[in-house]
Amino acid sequence: MSATDGTITTARSPFALLRDADEAEEVLLLTYTASLEFFERFALGEARGLQAATTVISDAAMVTVDPLTVRGAGVRYIEARAVCPGHAAFHPKLLVIVGRSACSIAVGSGNVTLAGWHGNDELWTVIRADVDRGPRTAREASAFLRALASGPIQLSAEAPEVLTRVATLVDGMAADDPGPALVSTLDGPMIQQLPRGPVDELVVYAPFFDSRLAALDALQERLAPSRTTVFVQPQTSVDGNALAAWLARRQAELKWCSDERYRHGKLIEWSREGVREALTGSPNLSGAALLHRLGADPGRRVNCELATITRIPESLAPPEAALPPMASRAWCSPPIRQKRRARGPFSLGPLWWMGSRFICASRPTSQAQHESRPTTRTATGRPFRGSRS
């Protein structure tokens, strides 16, 4: 593990990075949820303004597309999708803006949605490199992209080539300076990339916890902290009773942060002998995010996650707020909401082959799913030019 020991400055949002970029050949976005309406309306213009080939790769089950407004997918940019083994979440949040002479890489927690780029409180780390100077993180980023291109995750047909192309461009940058360590579940369990304890303090925050609090248990075992603080927000998705029991058992402290804005960033922070470090990025405090390697066990649900481990000059713990009134402590009421109900098959996008267009699916479809429905005529036989619901 490596960690930067330089001074940390405030990171900018992905949108600001796109706005500030001078030139690029490729703009690559990895995201869990994607609102292509938002992307086309506000981000695509910035990316295309750089004359960059632009690609968005998102979880195939989590893309929202309004057919009346999304017009550039597959035309002005590549809209690619990913399906993780076992229908786990494709969860990394990464922005790469790369040209021949410089690149910016943002690793964080915000999805390509209005909330993810603007509305929520998110944690981002930005890496910059050019042909003369760059942190080692840049090389780790290109390795991650290559691993993604050839790994166990199903991707749209164009995606592996894009990932390799972007990785090659990033490899053209210098990468000799110290920088944050880039870690992913493609390399191994996130938990094993954290130092072994004991540590003096552990501070955690995430908007989602797993129902058995297995990730919290594992962190406690791994880091063996003398003092543990768990931050929650009234909007936090967690089994409140289980957490209360866990806090009592581990003699850990609960702190509330304000609910004025949804805090979607994910933080695992520890300190030892005055040195403070943090894992930030996409993983929530869940077993699927932290405890296993993706692809090691086909039967196990393991997310694709991406994070940085960075030495930080001061704590990233959220500002503490007063205990909210009981009415707003919805977290005390399990169960955790299950949002990923769809099981596919998912569309991975169109493919032209020998003069015909095919829709690639994440798994073989049934006969019924092959058949198209009569959607172009109304009951009176008139053609209908609007969209289907």
């Binding site: 405030t10 915000g110 981002w124 910059r128 009951a379």
Partner: protein, 500 residues
């Protein structure tokens, strides 16, 4: 250029959002609003005072003639409005009261706070933030320009159809009184001929009847349409008392026998039928969206949970049954007013709205090509009658609950699309998003609940204007055609027929 900083962060980042409630979240209203604007230009829901059309025309023209500066012109017009409000207040307190029932003068309720020792402080009342925030001339300016009473940007100037002689005769005293810093209550009481209720018998009232309704410019479609619409309102109110002029207008012109002919009048009447019928569907969407917003304002939930709630609310029927159970829409020769019956039924919102939408889709089969085209409007992407017809066809053999789930998806998508289309970035990259709908990692919630008031066909406002000009009487709060109204209808009918 060398990089200053290789690593930024990790740090918390958020530009935040400027969020507001936004108006017209599904943007279904333009289908009706565009038609109404075409058919009744120069009357909007807030221009309820007939006499203000003449007052503003005279006041702005006088300011222009005296070469007043912009701010002086604005102040002078405000002073004129204060005088009229003061006169109306005093006139209403006399034993005989107002000559006829008209809407209160604008700002009248605030006038008493500027009366001290039997004197109205005109200067203070007319200052910004006095009897109103900035006066009411701005509200009327666009309609007054549309009619041709005013022209130019701001401040407005005398327009091509402004005839100052009858205006001076009827309202000229306002100009003198408005120049005074204060007026005694006696002076205001003696000026009752300037009260909004006195327009019908005043020269300026007769002038406004002519310029607004009776003497349409044959080359201006809007003028002709306003004239035809006024006739249609008078027809709707003929033959008895009516408690709601807009209701009478809907019943009289939304239904009935086919409208034949190729005249401008027939075209306008068909367009009104289209607007009236389409408004039932527009209102149904507004009611439905409000119902959905009520679900989300109490509890955050996923789109699927919201869809399930809607599905539960519409019950276990089939789509085919919903359509088959609709009452007959036509008899041998007429469209029957079943939308109106459904509008006032006490059925719960979700199912009632679904029926109204299905009815709107079925109406496509009842309308002639021109009415149908106006009924469908310009934007035919989704939520329109043709789209609903398509959904009913697609789901014909399916459960009503499944249709309901699909509709939730579509309305949510539409609401997001509308909000996104209105969204803009500030200079600090902070987006302004006009929507009550919040989406937090797929959990939806609503800040407050949406309004679901029906889109106004401006029939009520038109009734106030025409009523103030003497064509409608208001016995016991009802609306009834007056003798002058009967004469006016006859003149309009002759003029319209002659124009062809």
């Amino acid at each position: 250029m060398a990089i200053d900083q290789l690593v930024e962060g990790p740090s918390w980042v958020s530009s935040g959002l400027d969020e507001s409630s936004g108006l017209y979240p599904l943007r279904v209203e333009p289908a009706v609003g565009r038609l109404v604007e075409r058919l009744l230009p120069g009357v909007i829901t807030t221009t309820t005072g007939a006499r203000y059309f003449g007052l503003h025309t005279l006041a702005w023209s006088d300011a222009q003639a005296r070469n007043l500066q912009d701010d002086e012109s604005e102040e002078f017009v405000r002073r004129c409005e204060v005088v009229v409000a003061g006169v109306s207040l005093l006139h209403g307190q006399t034993p005989a009261g107002h000559d006829r029932r008209v809407p209160a003068a604008h700002g009248e309720d605030r006038i008493p706070r500027f009366i001290h020792g039997g004197t109205l402080d005109v200067t203070t009342a007319a200052s910004p933030g006095g009897y109103s925030k900035g006066g009411f001339a701005g509200t009327y300016a666009a309609p007054e320009r549309t009619i041709g009473l005013l022209r130019g940007s701001w401040p407005p100037r005398r327009g091509p159809r402004a005839d100052l002689a009858p205006l001076r005769e009827g309202l000229g005293d306002v100009l003198d009184l408005a120049r005074r810093p204060a007026l005694t209550l006696d002076e205001l009481a003696q000026a009752s001929h300037l009260c909004p209720c006195a327009a019908s018998g005043a020269p300026d009232g007769a002038w406004l009847r002519r310029v607004m309704f009776e003497q349409a410019d044959p080359d201006v479609e809007g003028d002709r349409n306003r004239q035809i619409t006024a006739l249609m309102l008078l027809e709707a109110l003929d033959g008895g008392r009516h408690s709601d002029p807009e209701h009478a207008f809907r019943l009289s012109h939304g239904f009935g026998a086919p409208i034949d002919g190729a005249s401008a009048e027939a075209t306008a009447r068909r367009a009104w039928r289209a607007a009236i019928l389409r408004n039932y569907s527009v209102s149904a969407w507004r009611h439905l969206w409000r119902w959905l917003s009520e679900q989300l304002s109490g509890d955050a939930m996923t789109a699927r949970e919201l869809a399930d709630r809607f599905a539960d609310a519409v019950g276990g029927g089939r789509v085919r049954e919903l359509v088959a159970d609709l009452p007959p829409r036509v008899d041998a020769s007429r469209l029957l007013p079943i939308e109106e019956a459904l509008r006032t039924s006490d059925e719960d919102t979700p199912l009632c709205s679904l029926r109204q939408l299905a009815l709107g889709a079925q109406r496509l089969q009842d309308l002639d090509a021109e009415t149908r085209d106006a009924f469908l409007g310009r934007d035919r992407d989704d939520l329109g009658p043709e789209w609903v017809e398509h959904q009913l066809f697609e789901h014909a053999d399916g459960a009503l609950a499944d249709l309901a789930r699909d509709l939730v998806d579509t309305t949510l998508r539409r609401a997001r699309r509308v909000a996104l289309s209105k969204m803009r970035l500030s200079s600090d990259l902070r987006p302004y998003v006009p929507t009550r709908l919040r989406d937090r990692d797929g959990l939806l919630s609503m800040v407050g609940t949406e309004a679901d008031a029906e889109v106004s066909l401006r029939g009520w406002t038109l009734a106030q204007v025409v009523g103030a000009l003497g064509a409608i009487d208001r016995p016991d709060d009802a609306y009834k055609l007056s003798a002058l109204g009967t004469d006016m209808a006859g003149r309009l009918r002759t003029t319209i027929a002659a124009a062809g």
